[in-house]
């Protein structure tokens, strides 16, 4: 932490959207923290985006509403934005800039860390392995989350992604180890009612003790959203690599983050890319998502679960599209299932956890996990085809096996997928349900599972 004070400049050349152009600046640095002071003495934080020709462009996190060219001054702090971290941050609630909003004092810091983090040396990265149990069957059973993985949830406006996020935050745990587990929850541009729900949900379940909440509300300045995921990840990295915890970071909603980025880009008059988002959206998103992982010789891990709402449910929209390039799979929520009242409405046919295979199986979950999961995937996919066929020829035109697949589709959605909001299923319960679904099929249809597992777990229904 720098203890040097900064020079205060009072020559403001221009205020443009969320940006303030300060004149006569000769020694500012890129990303330097700036304190903007209004005529009324109010202080706001910002950071340097550009320096040159005696000018500095400052992005004001809390917005420029109420600022005027005369009377406003900018103090260059001589340091980048830092987050004070210590074990005491667990159980605390902060705003989007990392300031406490739970009525308790600032945490006493063990360290002050640059919120931009340090890039992980690729050589030092350890391949993500080991299972994180979320207690949500469809995730644990078919889209398994692995420690150190980045697995986003692609949702749509109005769907139950926030309820799912809160459930995962409450229930997530590492099984078969005594290692400590923590959840860092960053709400980006969420409504007040949603923020209250997250907070209450963690408090009532007793999970707040091992969680850190960062809440940037919908009525908070949009620019603050640029900072929220970064402060959250800084805390997560500290808990993981300094304290040796396994940390699950839930970032919701990354679409609001990208909107804020677009706002700044427009104010800087940059050449817009797809749908007006800046051309560097991919690079910028990667600076967040790539902060997940494990390091050789360090005990902890940072696992990320970013949640984003796809505008018009469009999976080809730049935000999910670019996110999908960086992350290791995706969990897609389906509008049809949501309309049918299925919770969680995960469309498994569009979802994938790319490194699931390395986190499951004997010694991690159970030896039959991969095979029974593949069989469920195959059977559900076939049931969708049969459903479509039944829509045309009617049930009377289907064969006996086709009818069995129809039953499998219904059972998959009713028995396996559907789950109560407060229902925390163990991996054994989840695998039993998967066997229950495929046991509707005759044995000769189970082509993805070894005979020894069929003999052990198959129960004809």
């Amino acid at each position: 932490m720098s203890t040097q004070g900064g020079v205060q400049y009072s020559k403001i050349a221009e205020i443009k959207g969320p940006l303030v152009v300060v004149d006569g600046v000769d020694s500012a640095a890129f990303d330097e923290l700036v304190e903007i002071q209004t005529t009324g003495g109010e202080k706001r934080l910002g950071k340097v985006l550009e320096v040159g020709n005696g000018k500095a462009i400052v992005q004001v996190f809390e917005g420029t509403t109420g600022l005027s060219v005369s009377g406003t001054s900018a103090k260059f702090m001589g340091k980048v934005m830092e987050m004070p971290v210590s074990e005491e941050v667990l159980g605390r609630v902060f705003d989007g800039l990392g300031r406490p909003i739970d009525g308790l004092p600032d945490p006493i810091a063990s360290k002050f860390l640059d919120i931009n983090g340090e890039p992980m040396n690729p050589e030092q990265r350890e391949y993500p392995r080991d299972f994180i149990q979320t207690g949500v069957s469809v995730i644990d059973g078919m889209l398994t989350l692995v420690r150190g993985q980045k697995l986003p949830i692609f949702s749509g406006s109005g769907m139950s992604h926030n309820i799912l996020a809160a459930q995962i935050a409450r229930q997530a745990a590492v099984v078969g180890t005594t290692d400590e587990f923590a959840v860092v929850f960053a709400a980006i541009g969420v409504q007040y009612s949603e923020a209250e729900y997250f907070k209450r949900s963690l408090e009532e379940s007793g999970a707040l003790k091992r969680s850190v909440l960062f809440l940037n509300l919908a009525d908070d300045p949009a620019i603050e959203r640029i900072i929220t995921p970064r402060v959250a990840l800084t805390v997560a990295e500290y808990l993981a690599y300094d304290l040796g915890m396994h940390v699950l970071v839930i970032l919701t909603d990354m679409t609001n983050y990208a909107e804020a980025l677009r706002e700044i880009s427009a104010a800087r008059e940059e050449v817009p890319g797809r749908k007006g988002y800046p051309g560097y959206l991919y690079t910028d998103l990667s600076t967040i998502y790539e902060r997940a992982g494990r390091l050789h010789g360090r005990k902890g891990s940072v696992t990320q679960m970013p949640i984003l709402t796809m505008p018009s449910d469009d999976i080809t929209h730049p935000i999910p599209d670019l996110t999908g390039y960086i992350t290791e799979g995706q969990i897609v929520l389906g509008r049809d299932l949501f309309r049918q009242g299925v919770y969680p409405p995960v469309n498994i046919l569009m979802s994938l956890s790319r490194i699931m295979k390395d986190g499951i199986g004997e010694g991690r979950t159970r030896a039959d996990h991969q095979e029974v999961s593949n069989q469920n995937y195959d059977a559900y996919s076939r049931s969708q085809e049969v459903r479509a066929l039944a829509g045309i020829v009617g049930k009377a035109g289907l064969t006996g096996v086709d009818l069995k697949y129809l039953e499998v589709g219904d059972s998959f959605e009713k028995d396996f997928l559907t789950q109560a909001v407060d229902e925390n299923r163990t991996i054994e319960e989840t695998l039993s349900l998967q066997w229950k679904v495929v046991s509707l099929l005759p044995k000769n249809e189970l082509t993805k599972i070894k005979d020894k597992f069929i003999d052990q777990y198959y129960k004809e229904r």
């Binding site: 203890t3 159980g91 004092p105 006493i108 091992r210």
Partner: protein, 197 residues
Amino acid sequence: MGSDSALEQTVEKIIHNTEEQILSNLKDALKSSQDALSNSHVSLEQEYDRIISEGKKEAEKLEKQIIGNADLDSRNKQLVLIEESIEKVFDKAIKKIQDADRNSDYSKLISSMLEESIRTIGTPDIIIQTNSKDKSVVQSLLSKFPGATLSNDVIDCLGGIKVQSKDGTMKFDNTIDARLERLKPLIRKDIASKFGR
């Protein structure tokens, strides 16, 4: 007489057959009710196990919730108490600084503050502001800093100086208050460590 005996035999036979039929039916009924009883016993046991296991899960959840919230509450109360103690230490320190003698050591401190301010602002042409207590100290040092002038206005602070460039575009706050504010997070950590944190 012969026909009566045949009739009696037939009636006997019918009665016997009916008796056998009834007995067999009774046996079947007994067997099926015994089966039903033993089956319901199994399903009852399963239901019992399910209720017990759900109850256990619920109890574990409640235990986790109660313990988690109690732990957090006590930790938070501890944080508040530590903060109150830190504030008390700060208040005492501020009082001590306020009452400090403006001796030669203090003059050296102001001199180094002036040097630092000029270096930071990047020009020796500055206007200095200070509080009424430190005015004489600053005045005595002015000869060492050509280009610096002392403002007639006094500022409200514990000590130290505020400087600004003569064109008014740059300011640097080097008061003790500003320094304390900058260093507060580090000082808090040091104080807290004395309380075993």
